[in-house]
């Protein structure tokens, strides 16, 4: 299992655009390590008799009425954007198209 280093935490935080203090880096590193370890124990339970489960409780058909609810305003929507222009989120040029 790869180790959760402070560098990795800083990298993840940058990807997620979350500002973290040095104290938090240390704290998250140990917490994340624990989570990764815990998840890894699940692997031991996988066998042919046990099917993958995506939900802990058997439920189906939970639907919402097709009724419009208030949305955010444009200003609210863009308030967290790194950059915006003409009411739209501004992102760096994209090389690939699909």
């Amino acid at each position: 299992m790869s180790e959760i280093t402070p560098e990795l935490v800083r990298h993840l935080a940058a990807l997620a655009r979350i500002e973290v203090s040095e104290a938090e880096v240390a704290q998250f590193a140990s917490q994340l390590a624990l989570i990764v370890e815990s998840v890894a124990t699940v692997k031991a339970a996988v066998s042919d008799e046990i099917f993958a489960t995506s939900h802990p409780i058997p439920m189906a058909n939970v639907f919402r009425e097709d009724v419009v609810k208030p949305s955010l305003t444009q200003a609210q929507a863009l308030s967290g954007a790194a950059d915006s222009e003409s009411g739209r989120f501004k992102v760096s040029a994209i090389l690939d198209e699909d």
């Binding site: 993958a52 919402r64 097709d66 949305s71 009411g87 739209r88 992102v91 040029a93 994209i94 198209e97």
Partner: protein, 501 residues
């Protein structure tokens, strides 16, 4: 950009067998988006129909739009599909700024509908049965605008602007199985297939089905293989084909392009290609492999969909008739010849004429207006006929004015032009512009008497029974009435008056 070399179409078909596959995305016209209560509206100010859900904020929880599920099941049933006992949503992971979540909520191995068929008639009258592999639900992505660079296109763009109003709009993607044996009619079949899908979703009332707005979008897979070869050729997937005409052209182009390459011993690259309507060509996009890793996994925030048999049967009972059956019924109802009817279908005017007849017009009059004058105008303005700003009701009103003798054909065409120019409804235009045929015999008689008194020799000839002489009088009267008289009535009155005077 280097121009592709193309093989002559007929030569290509002599040497190669064509296999196509079509993926059609249908945007549903629900009030709200697929997983949140934001309005599903086209053309609003950017980023005004967005919320934490469709902006991908952490902690936001999706909630499935029940109406979208219902509409998706209806589409599946209309395509004679089986409806899955259990359908599930999955996350399709990809990194592109048109979806803020970094995944698209879609369906993977448990689509809501699968294994259907649809009969498609091509212009020659031949009918192909197209097998549907699946119809699954997913959400649309946001709209990107590429800014900068010389062409305004993605290559060379300096930055991109994102509007997330469309992100999360419910989509149903309908995927065919490979279609063999269409031969030289493969391009027409592709267009006729999309036309039928559009007709189905429109008649179901589940989509606005306007291709020019992207409500119905098609990706066309095309591959060719030397005749007699069992192994399928490498396919390309052409995107952005958003009109029936472009679908036909794009498929034909790919057949010719691929045939040229294969004949030169060059391998076809499996890739996404983009259709450019302006230059009538496809261009290379990104390479694509079947192993594209989207790391699909079941969406943990949404529970499975298990439509009950009762619900499915209830929805089945609401289905409108199938396109093929509807066409047969309408042709019989309207008493159109095969040729007339095929012309209507291939001009894509079935719904317009149906609506016009429903609004009270005689079928032949409706057909004449749409396939004649309106098609001519659309063509001369290089527009799709659906883009003309006239409704079937307005066409029916014009037809009714002609039918009742209030307008001549010439005046009716003038009124039509005014309707298209946005001057209002036919009746209003007739009143405002004083275009109505003068049916007041008094005014006509006065004009006739005047002309006859000016031309006594003509009057004499008419009296002697030389009726062709009346032509000069009719012409002069029509001129005096500034064209707003019914020529047949004028003729009647001229003869009547000549014998009375």
């Amino acid at each position: 950009m280097a121009k592709d070399q193309l093989m002559d179409y007929q030569k290509a078909l002599d040497a190669y067998e064509v296999v196509i596959g079509l993926e059609v995305h249908v945007e549903l016209n629900t009030n709200t988006k697929m997983f949140c209560g934001c309005a599903n509206v086209f053309g609003d100010e950017p980023n005004t129909n967005v919320c934490p859900n469709c902006l991908g904020f952490p902690g936001a929880m999706p909630a499935v739009n029940g109406k979208a599920i219902e509409n998706s099941i209806k589409i599946g049933l209309a395509l004679d599909c089986q409806i899955a006992a259990t359908g599930r949503f999955a996350r399709k992971n990809y990194f592109y700024p048109d979806l803020a979540k970094n995944f698209q909520t879609s369906q993977y191995d448990e689509p809501i509908a699968f294994e259907g068929t649809i009969d498609i008639e091509v212009p020659s009258g031949k009918v192909f049965t197209v097998a549907i592999e699946r119809a699954h639900m997913e959400e649309d992505a946001g709209k990107l605008t590429h800014v900068g660079g010389s062409t305004g296109r993605i290559q060379g763009a300096e930055f991109s602007l994102v509007d997330f109003n469309r992100a999360g709009v419910p989509l149903v993607e309908i995927v065919t199985k490979p279609i063999y044996g269409a031969g030289d009619e493969a391009p027409e079949l592709a267009a006729a297939y999309v036309r039928s899908i559009r007709e189905i979703v429109k008649n179901l009332g589940v989509s606005d089905a306007r291709m020019e707005r992207g409500n119905v979008r098609c990706d066309a897979n095309v591959s060719i293989r030397p005749k007699g070869q069992e192994k399928l050729g490498t396919r390309t997937e052409t995107k952005n084909v958003n009109s029936l005409r472009s679908i036909e052209r794009a498929v034909k182009y790919e057949i010719q392009r691929q045939a040229h390459l294969l004949s030169q011993g060059t391998a076809i690259i499996q890739e996404t290609r983009h259709w450019h309507e302006d230059r009538g060509a496809t261009s290379s996009g990104r390479p694509k492999s079947d192993a594209d890793d989207y790391r699909y996994f079941p969406e943990p925030d949404l529970v499975p969909i298990q439509p009950s048999k009762e619900w499915i049967e209830q929805l089945r009972a609401t289905l409108p008739e199938k396109p093929a059956i509807r066409r047969k019924r309408l042709q019989e109802l309207w008493v159109f010849s095969d040729l007339e009817f095929r012309d209507v279908v291939n001009s894509d005017l079935l719904d317009e004429i149906d609506d016009t007849v429903k609004a009270g017009a005689k079928p032949q009059a409706a057909r004449k207006w749409w396939t004649g004058e309106l098609a001519r105008i659309a063509n001369s303005e290089d527009k799709d006929i659906a883009e003309l700003s006239i409704t079937p009701t307005q066409v029916a009103q014009i037809a009714a004015l002609v039918e009742s003798g209030k307008l001549t054909d010439r005046l009716a065409r003038e009124v039509l032009t005014c309707v298209l120019a946005g001057e209002g409804n036919p009746e209003e235009i007739v009143a405002k512009r004083g275009l109505e045929v003068v049916s007041d015999d008094g005014a006509l008689l006065a004009a006739i008497d005047q002309v006859l008194s000016e031309q006594p020799d003509v009057l004499e000839k008419i009296r002697e029974g030389k009726l062709q002489a009346a032509g000069a009088v009719i012409g002069a009267v029509m001129k005096a009435m500034a064209g707003s008289a019914d020529a047949a009535r004028v003729r009647e009155l001229v003869i009547q008056r000549a014998n009375e005077l």
